[in-house]
């Protein structure tokens, strides 16, 4: 009995989708547009987060070692710091490497290069290159390293140290703001999309209100009347996400060069990013679409079933 009713509900739903062809087309287009607007924002967030993550990952700080720092002390400190959970990596940079890096950074500055050449010895001490897993932890770490006991090894009182610390704090603040903005705008669009989809489904079922009354008059139970509409809603969601998939890939191929051009080294491969998470991304979208459309159709049919 259950499977027979289910089979009939599917049959009625498919008949209704086909026989109300234009209503189906319009509904699928609206649900697709709603899903597309949310997807666009999710992709925007993905790209923005990628930029922030890349900046964070590249955020590193060089702390100069004092002239008196002994090799054993430095090696011990590097080993200890690398054990910390929040540290991504601590690398010891020798004076020669520091000189090379400095030369590389100022290769176009003739005055600096001339000054360096005039010196008879390497003016740099060694340094530590520190990168952390979470940029927010930098502040904590640098405060820790500012302790007096490291004073013999680390040059923590020079302005470079504090400038780097300030810069990292600014990056950290901006990344939080970007995330909050992305979340806020996404939430706004999600709410708008829910309202649009909800009303579209309500309007679709409104056009069937007389049929619902007739079905009840001939003895159909509420569930028998309601189930084809619910199945229809699920199909709208599935079609919409399929259309989304069909639109996404050509669109991604088209906009990828523009994204690369705009973001440069911080760019993200859109197709790879979505394809690697295909089931998660489109599964989530289909799940959300089904949830919204089914709840909408439950509400809409209940209104006319109660009449």
């Amino acid at each position: 009995m259950f499977f027979l009713d289910l089979f009939r509900s599917f049959k009625f739903a498919l008949q209704s989708l086909w026989r109300n062809f234009w209503l189906t087309v319009v509904t699928v287009i609206i649900v697709t547009l709603a899903m597309a607007s949310v997807s666009f924002l999710l992709i925007f967030n993905l790209v923005a987060n990628n930029v922030v993550d890349t900046v964070k990952a590249k955020s590193e700080i060089y702390i100069d070692l004092t002239e008196g720092a002994k090799q054993a002390q430095v090696e011990f400190l590097v080993a200890e710091l690398n054990k910390l959970e929040d540290i991504r990596e601590v690398i010891y940079i020798s004076p020669a490497q520091t000189l090379e890096r400095f030369k590389g950074e100022h290769a176009n500055d003739e005055v600096i290069m001339a000054s360096l050449d005039s010196l008879s010895s390497n003016p740099f001490t060694g340094s530590l290159k520190i990168s952390v897993k979470d940029i927010a932890k930098f502040d904590e770490l640098l405060t820790e390293l500012s302790r007096d006991e490291y004073g013999d090894i680390l040059e923590i009182n020079n302005s470079e140290f504090f400038e780097a610390k300030d810069l990292l704090n600014v990056i950290s603040d901006y990344s939080k703001k970007v995330e909050q903005f992305g979340f806020g705008v996404s939430l706004f669009f999600i709410i708008i999309s829910i309202i649009v989809v909800f009303n579209t489904i309500q309007m679709g079922i409104y056009s069937h209100r007389e049929e619902i009354g007739i079905m009840k008059l001939v003895g159909a139970s509420n569930w028998f009347v309601r189930s084809p509409f619910i199945i229809e809603s699920i199909m709208y969601s599935v079609f919409s996400v399929l259309v989304m998939v069909l639109i996404f890939y050509p669109l991604a191929i088209y906009i990828q060069p523009h994204v690369d051009n705009f973001l440069g080294e911080y760019s993200l491969n859109l197709i790879d990013s979505v394809s690697n998470n295909f089931l998660w991304v489109f599964g989530l979208e289909i799940g959300i679409a089904i949830l919204i459309t089914v709840i909408s159709s439950m509400f809409a049919t209940r209104r006319y079933l109660d009449d």
């Binding site: 008949q15 009354g213 007739i214 079905m215 009840k216 008059l217 001939v218 003895g219 159909a220 139970s221």
Partner: protein
């Protein structure tokens, strides 16, 4: 078949039916007449549990439906066939599908549906229009589809609420003849009408309602208003 005891139906400060009592035995053909707005359709709505009485009792086939629960209403309606003036056909379903829907909604097996529906449509003379949609049919044909749908689950009671209201005289006669034929095979028929000629031509029991009250109940009556 139907026993109505002291039924009153009030809508806020308007009384549609007042203290109506009547009994319709099984197999009878009864006409319920009265001018528009006298409460005939309200009585039909009470019988099919589309509305609930303010007071009184309605018993159909031994089932007291006065305080029927919502989930029981479909079971009641599957035992009563109802046809309306405006046919109430499902516009996006074919003739066959409209009739089959009444069986399908009761969970009747596919084989029985495919066997029964063409038979019933043959009885009402629409065996050649199974795949037509309602918009492709004349008024008389639409009403015959509605009759087929009402009959398909072999109800003991058929209620026809102004079934000829939208039909010309030829179609009216055909529909009334069909209702008489249905009555002959043992189905109780309650015909709600304000068509004087139809009611007078039947020479069956006539219950007359005026201002929400039964003013006459004659075994072989005529339209008296």
């Amino acid at each position: 078949m139907i026993t109505i005891k002291n039924i009153t139906k009030k809508y806020s400060n308007y009384t549609a039916l007042e203290d109506i009592s009547l009994h319709i035995p099984s197999g009878e053909f009864v006409s319920l007449v009265g001018q528009s707005g006298t409460g005939k359709t309200t009585l039909v709505k009470l019988i099919i549990a589309e509305e609930r009485p303010t007071s009184g009792e309605i018993i159909i086939g031994g089932w007291n439906i006065t305080k029927i629960k919502s989930y029981e209403i479909p079971y009641l309606r599957r035992q009563i066939g109802v046809i309306f003036q405006d046919f109430k056909l499902l516009p996006k379903k074919t003739v066959y599908e409209n009739v089959a829907f009444a069986l399908e909604s009761c969970g009747v097996a596919v084989q029985i549906v495919t066997k029964t529906v063409p038979q019933v449509l043959k009885i009402v003379g629409l065996e050649n229009k199974l795949n037509h949609y309602p918009w492709q049919l004349s008024g008389g044909e639409k009403q015959r589809v509605a009759i087929a749908r009402a009959l398909v689950h072999k109800p003991k009671l058929l209620i026809a609420d102004e079934p000829t209201g939208n039909l010309d005289s030829i179609n009216t006669k055909e529909i009334i003849d069909l209702l008489l034929k249905i009555n002959e095979i043992g189905t109780t028929v309650l015909l709600v009408s304000h068509n004087r000629d139809v009611v007078n031509g039947l020479r069956r029991r006539v219950i007359t309602v005026e201002n929400g009250k039964v003013i006459s109940d004659q075994a072989k009556g005529r339209y008296v208003l």
